[in-house]
Symmetry: C2
Subunit: 369 residues, 2 copies
Amino acid sequence: MPAFSRFTPLISALPATVPFVGPEAIERNRGLAVKARIGANENGFGPSPLAIEAMCAAAGETWKYADPENFELKQALASHLGCAADNIAIGEGVDSLLGLVVRMVIDPGLPVVTSFGAYPTFNFHVAGHGGRLVTVPYLDDRENLEGLLEAVRRENAPLVYFANPDNPMGSWWDADNIVAFARALPESCLMILDEAYCETGPADATPAISALIDQPNVIRTRTFSKAYGMAGSRVGYAISTPGTAQAFDKIRNHFGMNRIGVAAALAALKDQAYLSQVIDRIRDSRERIARVAESNGLKPLPSATNFVAIDCGRDGAHARSIVDGLMEHGVFIRMPGVAPLNRCIRISTGPESDMVFLEEALPKVLKNL
Amino acid sequence: MPAFSRFTPLISALPATVPFVGPEAIERNRGLAVKARIGANENGFGPSPLAIEAMCAAAGETWKYADPENFELKQALASHLGCAADNIAIGEGVDSLLGLVVRMVIDPGLPVVTSFGAYPTFNFHVAGHGGRLVTVPYLDDRENLEGLLEAVRRENAPLVYFANPDNPMGSWWDADNIVAFARALPESCLMILDEAYCETGPADATPAISALIDQPNVIRTRTFSKAYGMAGSRVGYAISTPGTAQAFDKIRNHFGMNRIGVAAALAALKDQAYLSQVIDRIRDSRERIARVAESNGLKPLPSATNFVAIDCGRDGAHARSIVDGLMEHGVFIRMPGVAPLNRCIRISTGPESDMVFLEEALPKVLKNL
């Protein structure tokens, strides 16, 4: 397959295959239909009806680009969060923002600290910019704050990534620990605090906005993809000092936001009552998943997210056979990628019908192993 | 405004201000309301009703990420274009794809050839990756193919950008000239052939897909933002050899596409009858704009796009005063950024009501100068 002969050395060296397999690809490749889509930490409870209404209303306006300054959405988020609009940068989902942050900080060869088995898309961006991943093992299924800090210091790393609550394990640290970690970081190291799951965790797991807002080396990322139920809308945002936030403007795709997604985010943000209901449903669904796991002899781990990691008690091959077996029954789930996390499977919360499919399929799968 | 202290030297050196001012920002900053939005080469005739229907239908599905492989859309485009799905890469608008291509090819200091006064967003991406812009003046308001080729050879440039039909001048070359240019390019130079406006030009201005599909150093970019009337949906695509197309997978934001936009693009693509009608309306509107210009003593240039560049006969300051003056009447237009192109203003086609606003405002503005 002839390709252009003069891509940069970095691009030429990157693998052509990438570790992203969506449920649609599984359906196509295996000839199976997904009945319960509870693998990608999407939110089957869906967005606020007001957001859906806003999407339809905005459909007729899609001939216009969105406002490249994202003025309204930044204002609304600032008001919601209790910070200034200048503290916020908007992007096409957190994935896009993560890519920009890596690009801002990483020249080829520079070290980037993250946990071993943490978010693969972040690692993808690090590789794409030639960074050198320095990984720290999880400790008791939580990201190891002391270990991450030690690695940053040892390597003089300019970038560390940390998710709280964590994906893929669902674990979390209290706000005090997070703030202490941020304070202890050398100012020459930028911390990405990925809070994609902050809405579904205990209140005391999320630092107050004011706690970190003055620290130029902290960027907190949040999204409308999880609790707000709008993964397909591609709206994420970053919170940092105005000076740090402004760096996004230097390289971001200014006209990258889709107009309907922005309208939906504005409407969803206004409907906090709906969000509260969904968070309750997510908590109930977590408990339901935990009961299903326990009644099948598996061990659910505590979770502050919209998914539950379940310890299946053996190795990655065993967990993989459960993931594959469930898919045979139309139940799409995922699992962590590396040991020892990969003794677990990871099941996203979802509506009753999804839970019924899971409840029916899991014992059959386990029996067949 | 304190910022993180250790951004890369490249990022630190980039300007914090960027040359993108949307109509919403003009409204906010000048306290004016846009009545005729005919400045950003959007398409006020709007998308197919089937696309709008598809957007509403997809709204309830926004809790799901879009298929990261964009399988369906690639299949549909391949079928429409008469190539293979492997020849296509999908992105969040052409702007996003342009950024990726620059990243694939440009290490800091490498030369990038483009026309002086061509697409600013491309230049933004070149600057963002540290490329060195080598510009060639327009010749008789067309991009200078011979001059571009000569610059590529002289500089041993790995990348050349060329839009056909052209923005901001609306001019074009015949397909034969484009193909001859591509054939004459050194294989060590990647050509971006930006065909954002191909649907609105004469048929013989666009090379057949088959004419360039085997050339690994050609990437053609197209969009649903212009003739298809979906600028706010953020759906663009690139056409190249499978080997070159695959390079996008190494670095693109795999889950970056918004689900509603993809659904809308699929529906719009099916409604070619509507597209034909819109293209007719765009042609009529071009003629209308030309008549308005002429009746005010200005000289419209021939256009193959959804806008008309109008020679106002003097310098950039004069054209700027017309742009600013029209905005006082709620008529948002733009103008080329550099001399000698900036003797012109640039007015996008649009529905009758927009044309009426323009027709009424222009003589008043000219009289007041």
